[in-house]
Symmetry: C2
C-alpha cells in the first residue's frame, strides 16, 4: 500500500474518531458507566473469538523465535480476559472526571466565568506488546469522554484487532456512533509516522513503551505528547534516620519489583552515617543478590562492591543492580538527583526536619518521598483508580495519570449583553 | 560565529538560568514581591540608558525603511517606561502562585500525598518587535518562580538588551544569582534553532507573534510549547435573541479593536431571524465601515455585501471585514465553528435555554460565551491580573494564561516507613 492510500484510510479513521468523540463528550456519566460495563461483558461473552485471534499471535511469535517470557506476556486465557473485563468495570465505577467545576468567578461587570473539565476529544495511544493494554487504555480514555485511536505492537496485532472491534461494536450497541475505539490496521513505522501528523484529528498522543519508541514519537508528533521517559529513582540516607525502617525501605524499593519504573536505581548516603549504615545495608542487599556499584568511599566499606562509573549514575538498570554514592550533606544529594535523575520519584530517609524541608522543596521530581518507598508512585496507590501511565513531563500532568489527567477544560462565560 | 561557538555560549546561558531558577523557586512570596518592585524602580531610575539604547533601535529602523506605525510601537519614552515599571508593580502585588496546595489525600496505609504548585524552572519566551514585552514577560515568569531566557526581535535588540540587563542586575541586588533574566545575544534564526534544542535547560517555551513564527517554534522545539495560533472567533445569532443587545455585542466584538485575536471574524445567523435581523445589522456595521462577506442568503438581504468564499470562513482578518453565514439551527452553527474555528472564543446570542446548553456543551473552544462579546477573552478581564498570552492548545493551559498557568506541580509523599 502506498503512503497516499494509507493516509486516506487514516483520514477516515480520524474523521470517525472525531465524530464519535463529539457524542462521547456529552454522554451523561451513567450512560458512560453502562457503556463501559457492556464493553466488559462483551469481552467475556466473546472470549472464544479473542482466544482464537490470540492463538494466531502466539503461533506467529513462536515462529519468529520470541522468547518464552515474552510469549507468556502476549498470551490471553480466560483468567486474563476476565481481568481485562474487571479492569473496565473498575474504571466504569470510578468518579466521572468530565464536567467538574474547577473554578467559578463572577466579575464586577456581572460576567460569570466557569472553568469546567472537558474531554480532550481524540486520544492516540501507541504501545508495544501486551494486548490487555488495548482494553485498559480504551476504558480510561472513554471514561474521560475521549474517543481513542490505538496503535499496538505487531506481536499482538490479531488479538488487538479483535479486542478493539468488540469494544467499538459494544459502544455502538450502547448508542454511540462508530469510531469510539479504533485500531490502526498496520503495525509498521510508516503508519505511526502518518498517524503522528494527524493533529487535525488527534488531540493528544500517549506513547507507552521503551525510551526509543517514546523519543521517536516526540520527534515526529505534531500534536501534544504526554510521556514517560524513564525512572532513575533515588533514595538519600540522611545523617540521622531510623536505620531499621531505612533498610526496609531500601530493600523494598530495590527488590520488590526491580523491572518497574518506580524501583530504586541509585542510593545516596550521607558520609557521617556511612560507617554505621553501609555494613548493615550490604548484608541485607547481598542476601537479596543485589549487585552493588559504589564510589571509592563506599567500596572501601564493602569489599564485594564494584566501582561505579559516571554512566552508572545515569542508568535505569531495571534489574538487581544498585548504584551507590557517598555525599557530604542533603544539598549534595539534591544536586546529584537533579543532575542525574529523571524527575520521576526520589526520596529522603531522615529524622531531621530541616533536611526534609530542603529536600522536598529542592528536588525537581514528580513525586518526592519522605521515609517511604519510591514504589508507591502508581495511580492505584495514589487513589486515582486506573492509570494510563506516569508522566515525567512537567506540562499538564506530572507523575501518575488517571482519568482526571485525560481531561482539559474550557471557560463558559455567561453574560447579559456585556460589551468591552 | 560558528554554531558550535554559539552553542557554547547558549549552554552557559542555560546553566546560569538553571542555577538561578533553583534559587527563585524557593524564594518566599515577600522576597519575590520585593525583587519585582526593585526591578520596577531600576527601570525608572535607569530610563536614560533605556532611551539611549532605544534611540539606536529607532535610527536603525528608520534606515531599514520600517513604516511609521511600527516605529511608533518600537519607541520607548518616559511614559512607556513608567508603564513597564507599573506593570511589574502590578504583577508584584498579585497572589503568589507557588506553593498552592492543589489537593491533599491521606491513604489507608497512612501515606500523606500533597499535590503542590511549583515553578516550571526555566521558561523561554520568543517574541517579535515590542520591547515592553521584555519586562512584562520577565515579570510574570519571575512571579511564578521561573528564570527566563528571552529571545526578542532584531528591531528592538538594543532596547531589549538594556532592559534585560537592568532586570537581571536588579535581581542580583535582591540577592539572586546571575541569570534570572537573560537575553539571547543574537536575533538570527540559527540562534533560535539552537535555543529550541536546549530541553536540558529550558522547561517550557512560549512563542509570541505571528502564526509563521509559532509554527516554526513548534516544528523545531524539543521542549513543550504553549502557544496561540490564531483567533477565528464566531458569534451565533439564534432564532430568538435580544436583538438590541445582540447588535451591540456584534458591533463591539467586531469594531472595538479589530486587530486583536479575540475580535469577531465570522457571524452565523439563524435563517428564521435573518429577515428581521440582517437589515438592522447591515445598517449598524456599514455605519462603522465594516466590509461584509456573506453567503447567498445573506447577500440577497444586503445588496452591498460581497460573496464569501470558503477561505473567508477560515480567515482571521484582524481588520474591519466580517464573514457571515446563514445556518439552519444551533447544531449547524456548532458544526461550522468546530470545523472552521481556531478553538479560541466563540459565543451564542440567544434567549433559548436548550440552544444555549447545546452550544456551550458542544463548541470545542477555550472560551464559550453566552450573550456577551468575545472581546473579554483576556487575563485582566478574567481576573488573572497579568497575562502571558492566550493558549489555543488543549494541553496544560487553555485560554488566557496568567501566573498560575506558569506553574506545574509535584507530589510530596510523607511516610513513616511505608513499603509496598
Amino acid at each position: 500500500m502506498t503512503s497516499v492510500e494509507m493516509n486516506l484510510i487514516l483520514e477516515e479513521i480520524g474523521k470517525k474518531a472525531r465524530r464519535a468523540s463529539a457524542s462521547l463528550a456529552v454522554l451523561p456519566p451513567e450512560a458512560k458507566q453502562l457503556c463501559l460495563e457492556s464493553m466488559a461483558d462483551a469481552l467475556e461473552n466473546r472470549k472464544a473469538e479473542i482466544m482464537r485471534a490470540n492463538s494466531v499471535d502466539i503461533i506467529n511469535a513462536g515462529n519468529n523465535g520470541m522468547d518464552e517470557a515474552k510469549i507468556d506476556r502476549l498470551k490471553l486465557d480466560e483468567v486474563r480476559i476476565k481481568a481485562m473485563a474487571d479492569g473496565l468495570r473498575q474504571v466504569a465505577a470510578q468518579h466521572d472526571p468530565v464536567g467538574r467545576i474547577i473554578s467559578e468567578n463572577i466579575r464586577p461587570n456581572g460576567l460569570k466565568i466557569t472553568k469546567i473539565a472537558v474531554p480532550f476529544g481524540v486520544v492516540g495511544i501507541i504501545y508495544e506488546a501486551r494486548p490487555n493494554v488495548t482494553a485498559d487504555a480504551a476504558g480510561i480514555c472513554i471514561k474521560a469522554g475521549n474517543a481513542v485511536i490505538l496503535r499496538g505492537g505487531k506481536e499482538a496485532f490479531e488479538s488487538n484487532s479483535v479486542i478493539a472491534a468488540i469494544l467499538n461494536e459494544s459502544a455502538g450497541a450502547s448508542g454511540l456512533p462508530d469510531g469510539v475505539v479504533q485500531l490502526i490496521p498496520w503495525t509498521d513505522r510508516e503508519a505511526v509516522k502518518l498517524m503522528l501528523k494527524m493533529d487535525k484529528y488527534i488531540d493528544l498522543v500517549i506513547p507507552r513503551g521503551g525510551e526509543s519508541l517514546i523519543r521517536t514519537v516526540v520527534a515526529e508528533a505534531t500534536m501534544p505528547v504526554l510521556k514517560h521517559y524513564k525512572g532513575v529513582c533515588h533514595l538519600f540516607v540522611d545523617s540521622s534516620c531510623d536505620v531499621k525502617k531505612a533498610l526496609d525501605i531500601i530493600v523494598n524499593a530495590k527488590c520488590s519489583r526491580p523491572a518497574v519504573c518506580n524501583a530504586l536505581e541509585t542510593l545516596l548516603i550521607d558520609r557521617s552515617i556511612a560507617p554505621e549504615f553501609v555494613p548493615l545495608l550490604a548484608e541485607k542487599l547481598s542476601a537479596r543478590k543485589v549487585e552493588l556499584r559504589g564510589d571509592d568511599e563506599f567500596c572501601a566499606l564493602v569489599p564485594q562492591a564494584k566501582k561505579a562509573t559516571e554512566d552508572d549514575y545515569y542508568a535505569e538498570y531495571l534489574s538487581l543492580i544498585l548504584a551507590v554514592k557517598t555525599v557530604g550533606a542533603v544539598e549534595e544529594a539534591v544536586e546529584h538527583i537533579n543532575t542525574y535523575g529523571s524527575r520521576h520519584s526520589d526520596g529522603i530517609l531522615s529524622l531531621i526536619p530541616e533536611d526534609i524541608e530542603y529536600f522536598t522543596r529542592n528536588v525537581d521530581s514528580s513525586t518526592v518521598y519522605v521515609n517511604a518507598s519510591t514504589r508507591f508512585t502508581d495511580g492505584g496507590e495514589f487513589g486515582m483508580g486506573a492509570e494510563i501511565g506516569i508522566s515525567t513531563d512537567k506540562l499538564h500532568a506530572r507523575g501518575p495519570m488517571g482519568t482526571d489527567e485525560l481531561t482539559t477544560y474550557k471557560y463558559i462565560v455567561l453574560g447579559d449583553g456585556q460589551i468591552r
